[in-house]
């Protein structure tokens, strides 16, 4: 059976988020982008409206919607600005869904529920100044001291660094492990723990209206109740979180392609050269057709990944494909959109230059496009196989998700 239809609930949820982004974010986005500041009203509003817990079960403070709706929401958010979707990637995809998949019942109540309700903001701390794609070379450590762990290390390029209350932090509990990635463990570090400091990075090419920064742990004492999963399970946890974060990046990038397409079709019908709207020129039409093709393909790829998540089927390869394709093509689409707009597209009088700057980062974070190509080739050759996990991401079950208790 093959069914491409969305339910009325999914469509209405996406429509509501679209309205919010257009009404409350779009009018001031250029101003905050120029100021390199996050609009302080945005996160509280996303929390209040329930967007930060869209796909968490109601019993954990969420709205009880499915994984496909999460994708649709991310598409609508990034269509207006990438910073909104980045919030979803780290708060929902990389942190909350990780706690939902790997956390104990007690941890779901302590961390996931306030995050889904938007009372606490969440971030994901994997990347370090010297460790990006090469995760296993991380230098952050968690040393046992009595019952507690003492964490030291610095994380870099962390979205919501100065805003988040909960950091899903990866550190080595066994720095001598062989292979090295088996020495990594995951912890929930709380921003108010003594020794935690953070700061924002300015001068970024894009996502300027968002918080991106560094987080430092200096002898931070973390109780064992904050360890997510078992010791040595951190690498697997990090990778499964990426399966969810990348899903939000893919669906968001799809929204960015749509934004480029919409801006270009509008402008091409208004702007006249050689006595007619530029939409009449075939090379402009070609760009529009390509953007439409990229949009359709990217959307199909992320919806397939969302469907697999709903079914409870592992989707590392499919999500990686969606993320690689959608982000590469969102950059292409924004590039062509600037070209359609000509010199006007080069100034921030129009939105497309922001689309171009905002699209670039996603080709680097959550797996560079190069890493995704290695992943795809690995699966194609049969070198890479998904092994069963101790904790799989649960399939979407509306009864469980929507029940109060």
């Amino acid at each position: 059976m093959l069914d491409f239809s969305l339910t009325d609930e999914q469509k209405s949820a996406a429509e509501m988020v679209k309205e919010f982004a257009e009404r409350e974010v779009y009018p001031t986005i250029k101003e905050y982008d120029r100021k390199q500041k996050m609009n302080p009203d945005i996160l509280p509003r996303m929390a209040e409206l329930g967007i930060l817990g869209i796909n968490a079960p109601v019993r954990y403070g969420g709205q009880g919607f499915d994984y496909v709706t999460l994708g649709l929401v991310c598409e609508e958010l990034e269509r207006v600005d990438t910073t909104l979707r980045v919030v979803m990637s780290v708060h929902v995809g990389l942190n909350s869904m990780g706690v939902f998949q790997w956390g104990s019942e007690e941890q779901k109540q302590r961390f996931l529920a306030p995050q889904a309700r938007g009372e606490k903001y969440a971030a994901y701390c994997l990347t370090e100044p010297g460790a990006g794609s090469d995760v296993a070379s991380m230098r952050s450590t968690a040393r046992r001291d009595g019952d507690d762990y003492v964490i030291n290390g610095e994380k870099m390029w962390i979205s919501l660094a100065t805003v988040a209350d909960h950091f899903l932090w990866f550190a080595k509990t066994d720095p001598d492990a062989d292979p090295p990635h088996e020495g990594i463990t995951a912890f929930m570090v709380e921003a108010d723990m003594p020794g935690v400091t953070s700061g924002d990075i300015h001068g970024k090419l894009g996502v300027r209206a968002g918080s991106t920064g560094w987080v430092n742990c200096d002898d931070v004492r973390v109780p064992p109740a904050n360890r997510i999963g078992e010791e040595g399970e951190g690498f697997k946890i990090a990778m499964t979180c990426l399966d969810n974060g990348r899903y939000t990046v893919a669906s968001g990038a799809t929204g960015l392609i749509r934004a480029s397409l919409e801006a270009s079709t509008k402008y091409a019908q208004e702007r006249r050269t050689f006595g007619e709207p530029i939409a009449q020129h075939q090379l402009i039409q070609q760009k529009i057709a390509q953007m439409q093709q990229w949009y359709d393909c990217a959307r199909l790829l992320y919806l397939r990944a969302g469907w697999l998540k709903n079914q409870g089927v592992r989707n590392t390869r499919e999500t990686s494909m969606a993320k690689w394709y959608a982000t590469d093509m969102s950059f292409q689409a924004a590039h062509e959109a600037v070209q359609v707009h000509g010199a006007y597209g080069y100034s921030d009088e129009y939105d497309v230059e922001r689309y171009l700057r905002n699209s670039r980062g996603a080709i680097i974070y959550e797996g560079t496009s190069e890493i995704h190509q290695l992943i795809q080739a690995g699966y194609a050759f049969g070198w890479r196989r998904d092994k069963p996990l101790r904790c799989e991401l649960p399939a979407y079950d509306p009864d469980f998700w929507q029940a109060e208790e």
């Binding site: 009325d8 509501m16 919607f65």
Partner: protein, 268 residues
């Protein structure tokens, strides 16, 4: 208290209105969203929900239209209305505002004990703004039009105090309940449908009342009863305009030339 919010499903605000040579009207929406709750009515829905939240009771969304109008009612439920009723009958098709008012008034009477019937000040398609007044006349209730704030409701004493926007100022009016109110956008900021509300709305069964349920006799509604004749619909001819770009060395000089020209043309 019992509040009824009368809404209309209209084309979306981004729809492009056009009339062909034969006078047929079409509303095409490139954004692909064919119909919405009339944007003016959203303020009425918000006010109805706020009254219900404050005073308890019901906020009931009511619309007259075809089956598709259920979508508008679902939006009202998703925003927080406690119930929704669709009034639909082929006999109502082609009603003018008077016919529509008779049908809505009859439905409001059937609901019994309604304290306040809320409307948006007009619909973005027909734009007449007549229906709230005509409903009030039919019911024999006090009409309060262009209401920008509901100041006080005294349910025990059966009175309401509102602020109306009138030419050049505001007017405070106190009158006995029940009343028909049409609201302006200054009254509130409509909320979005909530996620929980969306789920509830999509599962709701919306009752449909027909002409028989409302005792509407032939000749009181529908095209046969319509006193308004839309015999000739056409797009207004484009106005002859000229554009003049004012050039000067500085913005101040440009502004001065512009001000002088506006005085000359007696615009200001």
């Amino acid at each position: 208290m019992k509040v009824v919010v009368c809404v209309k499903q209209t084309p979306s605000t981004t729809a492009v209105f056009s009339v062909d040579g034969s006078g047929s009207v079409s509303w095409e929406d490139p954004g692909g969203k064919p119909h919405v709750v009339n944007p003016w009515d959203e303020y009425a829905v918000e006010e109805g929900i706020r009254l219900q939240e404050e005073h308890g009771g019901d906020a009931i969304a009511l619309t007259m239209g075809d089956e598709e109008s259920q979508e508008a009612l679902k939006t009202c439920l998703a925003m927080g209305c406690t119930e929704a009723i669709l009034v639909s009958d082929p006999a109502f098709a082609g009603s003018d505002t008077r016919g529509t008012a008779r049908v809505l008034a009859s439905a409001i009477e059937k609901l019994e004990d309604v304290d306040v019937a809320l409307f948006g000040k007009q619909a973005i398609d027909g734009d007449s703004g007549l229906t709230p007044m005509q409903v009030a006349v039919t019911l024999g209730w006090t009409p309060l039009t262009f209401v920008s704030a509901i100041k006080e409701i005294d349910l025990d004493g059966g009175a309401i105090t509102v602020e109306r926007l009138v030419q050049g100022g505001k007017q405070t009016v106190t009158t006995p309940l029940p009343v028909v109110i049409s609201v302006v956008k200054e009254i509130n900021e409509p909320r979005y449908p909530s996620f929980m509300g969306i789920r509830k709305a999509n599962r709701a069964t919306i009752p449909t009342w027909t002409a028989a349920d409302l005792d509407i006799e032939e000749g009181n509604a529908g095209s046969s009863a319509s006193k308004v004749d839309w015999s000739n619909i056409y797009e207004p001819p484009p106005r002859d305009t000229t554009v003049e770009i004012i050039e000067a060395e500085t913005v101040e000089e440009q502004a001065k030339i512009l001000a002088d020209r506006l005085f000359e043309e007696k615009v200001i």
